[in-house]
Symmetry: C2
Subunit: 638 residues, 2 copies
């Protein structure tokens, strides 16, 4: 448990980046160039000005279909005094044909009268050089076609080839080596063993690098052995223009990274004042930057975005930050430590005319949450965060137009929402549905805060046995919302396959040896479980694991399927998905709550239409455990 | 000269496109799908929803470096009543390590006191499941990771691999066959023979197709033989998802295209009411669209943009038109025929706060002009055009931000402007210089219209022998412009190498057998030539070719170098570039005219700094024929 490399700095990001670029510039870090075929050069940057080798056109040619002649042979021709040209006075030419020697004009085919004896009669004179494309009309040999450091466009490719240029020198794409390290890291596969961590960071980083016009090169996974890490680093630093050393840069047991970078080259900083991402290593060997990147995917993404991307931008000489930014209103507060510049992922949406940003969970191991993020709020070092309702600057990860077309559904989780998302987007590719699982009460609050277009809710009024209505009346005393019928769901106890513990009723969860797994407080299913405890005289304190909370039906089912728990409340479709036994308890109403102000939007119209569709019925019935009674209809609440 | 296929329709573009898409839909035109590795799927569109195969994490693991234990063994620990754990009560774990059987909590290394006897002392209890990442915390098996028809992002790649998904089904990139045809068409080379036309259209089209996520496949050039064209078309229609048949679609001598499309499949329309591009053929064989595209590059580009791109958009189900549009003020009128929808390329620039659009020459064979175009003005069918000063909608071909950073130089041509463009952009990659050659008087008018940031001028006052000042005073009576010293240029007669005709003075251009080539009216060099005629008693009517006009020094030099003319006025650097003889006549002042309102802009500052630089001097001296006297200084005019 000793630290291998105890020296961790806490340098502000901007300072670290600036010094890193300066040190690298001093080392001679700069773009390589390469010669490539012009036809393959689309989108590349010229390394220097490109000059034409030949004229285009390279011969005088006809600009029309017709005849070439000496203009002076046509002089004097009019409607009343036509001129007839003998066969040796003209040559038939098509567009692009060379102009024969001793000809200096072209007459269009439409203006000719062809006689039976092979002569041609004309009724107007030709001006010298008419309808002739002169040599070099398009491009003259020796002229500059493109300056240096310009992007090659399709028409520039045409112009270069027309100018006889077959190859050109462009900035090479920087080769970025990625070295994954770690004893527990294994190549991606479908059946990993416990303890194996799938190596997917290199695939994420490779995609990011490609999008920045770099060429990723992933090396084999290196175990946590110092010599092997150092050796691979040495090799990559020789073969690549930049190197990413992934994982092993935190202050943990197996941390050899910083020492290896130090031995192969130099370390400028180990430790940056950002969160996530603080254990980053800024190193280099000669002109090759070596960046130590933490193993957690979210930390890695941020370090690469903040520290490697500027190097690629510098390589190409382009502006450093082209991420589009916008302002949005925070739906909840963001609390941040003073010590770091913190990156908070947010889900965004236009609910009405305001752009709202809702902070996502900050776990840096959770790659799916990065996928769901529409933006990043950067809380500067020395700032404690932002309050709910505050307008903040957001770095967009999703296009604004797409945000305008995204239906935001926040509330109780049901896998049917994913199916609805799929159907809505397939039917109208401009529309998207993004969903967040925060439980039924969370959904009601999200609608109140103007954060969602819809919320899935299933809240039992334990006094009347009725669902949802009482809660709507309480939280929306002025109305202004619609409650829309969605599905009836079979709730019950999910149990291990074959029910090895012989659980026969809800009360059996108190039995010795039964490991229960619960849903989070505020979820409809938790409220149901609490109600069932009360009704059945079960003391939650006597239920082993009643405090163990998961956020979704599926997550509860997974714990049971993986034998980390024996029982938990949930819906039939989740139990079915994981092959669990199921003890039915009740059918609940899962409805959608929709704010009145978005009721008439295209997106909500499409949602309602989807609920009413035959395909929705078919998909939901295939999932099992649902009843459908006029989905999409408004429930009379008020 | 007979037409092979006389039937030419003149269908409005919108109607043709709509019917084409409808007919193809009826035929069953739709995207293919393919299975690819997830790691290669960045930027692709999912063909259907992707579900996780495994949980992520797939085992309960430690979220911290520390020890795993049974939480209940820690209960009761406080600062004053620490608990000591025996070696068999805990397991050392690193972040990501699996939680051993019978453990249900992790305590961080920072909170442990390690004793010499191997036991560990703690001063606070662990809550059950603390610092443990539950199975499926990130992704649960069976959950939807991505809906169908979604673009794969870097983090989605990570999420799929974490979810055990190694392959997915995506929309295939449509393979678009390109068949170049024509007897005169030859593969690109540096030494084409007269009459050869370099086949660069396929390279332009390929780049366009790549940028739209299609996969171009270029077939060998097919000569103008009906059977061969039909055969290649048949082959391509079997091998590709879409086919472009290039050239041969005008009503010329060798037009077999429409007949071949008709025989292989069907022709919906031959002839669209657009200019350029009217001879387009809209055909198909079964589900494969076959588009006949005119041979001129500009026509081809427009037909492919207007008729093939919508097919690719339809394939991917994306919105049809994503070109950004803007409004701009026309600097000159656009006259358009009523019969066609006309596409006019424009050069654009912000001179002051207004975005100006200047129509470019409309020749459809001139690929370099498309390269220089910043936008397209589309004049609808049935409209006669637009007047100067009118605000028009423009389809942008250049990013707006780049337009804001582009120095527009319009006036007399000198190759030194290209060198300046190269230097300015290399020194500050955000800045661009775009130049147009319209002669000195054209430059003065461009500055008056507010169309240019600078104009190169060299206008001789024939009464005083002085350059430029008188013209500035005349056209800018209120001042508001700066005249900036640029270079002295050696003007003279450019002559064929070795001077075979023995031309000794300007007056010799009247000699029998001397073919003169002139510059266009309004150019400073033409004014000089006219003045020299007057001064030397030369009657222009006696000079063979005095009416033959070229737009640049280089273009005049090229005609002489290619033996299409014997003499022409021009500058020494052009004569030197083409290895011509040169008869010096005078040194003229080539200055830059700059409107006062842009004088303090970054771009103009950079221009002035460049003129004053050592590198400018070195480059210009290497070109030859220039004298430099304090370039970049203001000339006192008013």
């Amino acid at each position: 448990m000793e630290m291998a490399f105890t020296y961790l700095t806490n340098i502000p990001l901007d300072q670290a980046r600036k010094e890193y670029l300066a040190v690298l510039a001093e080392q001679g870090f700069a773009a390589r160039t390469e010669r490539i075929a012009v036809r393959d050069s689309f989108g590349r940057l010229t390394a220097r000005a490109v000059y034409a080798h030949i004229n285009a056109p390279h011969y005088a040619c006809s600009a029309m279909d017709g005849i070439a002649l000496m203009a002076k042979d046509s002089f004097g021709a009019t409607e009343t005094t036509p001129v007839t040209l003998l066969e040796n006075q003209f040559t038939v030419v098509d567009t692009g044909d060379p102009i024969p020697e001793n000809c200096d004009a072209v007459i269009m085919v439409e203006e000719l009268v062809k006689n039976e004896d092979g002569t041609i009669t004309i009724h107007a004179p030709a001006a010298p050089w008419q309808h002739i494309r002169q040599i070099g009309e398009d491009i003259c040999a020796g002229e500059m076609i493109l300056p240096g450091f310009m992007e090659v466009t399709p028409s520039a490719i045409g112009a270069m080839i027309a100018g006889g240029v077959m190859e050109l020198e462009v900035l090479a794409k920087p080769v970025v080596g990625i070295i994954p390290t770690g004893d527990e890291i294994v190549p991606p596969c479908e059946n990993p063993k416990p303890g194996d961590i799938l190596e997917f960071n290199s695939s994420i980083f490779s995609a990011m690098l490609s999008s920045w016009d770099a060429e990723p090169r992933t090396y084999p996974i290196v175990p946590d052995r110092y010599d092997e890490i150092r050796g691979m680093l040495q090799k990559a630093a020789c073969e690549c223009d930049m190197v990413i050393l992934n994982a092993g840069s935190s202050a943990g047991r197996d941390d050899y990274s910083a020492r290896a970078v130090e031995e192969v080259g130099q370390v400028l900083y180990h430790g940056i004042a950002i969160k996530p991402g603080k254990p980053a290593i800024l190193g280099y060997k000669d002109t090759v930057p070596i960046l130590g990147v933490p193993g957690y995917p979210v930390s890695g993404i941020i370090v690469i975005e903040e520290l490697l991307r500027p190097l690629i931008d510098c390589w190409y000489g382009r502006e450093n930050d082209r991420a589009s930014r916008t302002s949005a209103r925070l739906t909840r507060q963001i609390v941040s430590g003073l010590k770091y510049q913190e990156y908070v992922r947010v889900r965004m949406g236009y609910v009405g005319s305001d752009l709202m940003a809702s902070p996502l969970p900050r776990g840096s191991g959770v790659v799916s949450s990065f996928m769901k993020a529409d933006g990043l709020v950067v809380v500067p070092q020395g700032t404690e965060g932002y309050t709910a309702g505050e307008s903040v600057r957001v770095r967009l990860l999703t296009e604004k137009q797409r945000l305008k077309n995204t239906l935001v559904v926040i509330g109780s989780h049901d896998p049917l929402l994913d199916e609805v998302a799929d159907m809505i987007h397939r039917n109208d590719r401009r529309l998207y549905l993004s969903s967040a699982h925060v439980g039924s009460m969370g959904g009601i609050m999200a609608v109140r805060r103007g954060e969602a277009h819809a919320a899935g809710i299933h809240l039992l009024d334990t006094e009347t046995g009725e669902y949802n209505r009482k809660y709507i009346k309480k939280y929306f005393p002025h109305g202004e919302v619609y409650l829309v019928r969605c599905v009836g769901r079979q709730q019950g106890l999910m149990l291990q396959s074959g029910n090895p513990l012989g659980i026969q009723s809800f009360s059996d969860i108190t039995r010795n040896g039964v490991r229960y797994v619960n849903r989070q407080k505020g979820s409809g299913t938790r409220i149901l479980a609490d109600y069932l405890c009360e009704k059945n005289g079960v003391d939650p304190a006597q239920v082993y694991g009643y405090d163990r909370e998961e956020m979704t039906h599926n997550a509860v089912a997974v714990q049971i399927a993986e034998n980390s728990a024996d029982a938990g409340m949930g819906i039939f479709s989740a139990a079915k998905l994981y092959g669990l036994d199921f003890l039915p308890i009740c059918v609940e109403e899962y409805d959608l709550l929709i704010p009145g102000k978005v009721w008439h939007t295209t997106m909500v119209r499409q949602l309602i239409a989807t609920l009413k569709s035959t395909e929705f019925r078919e998909r939901i019935e295939a999932m099992g455990g649902y009843t459908l009674d006029r989905p999409g209809e408004i429930i009379d609440v008020f």
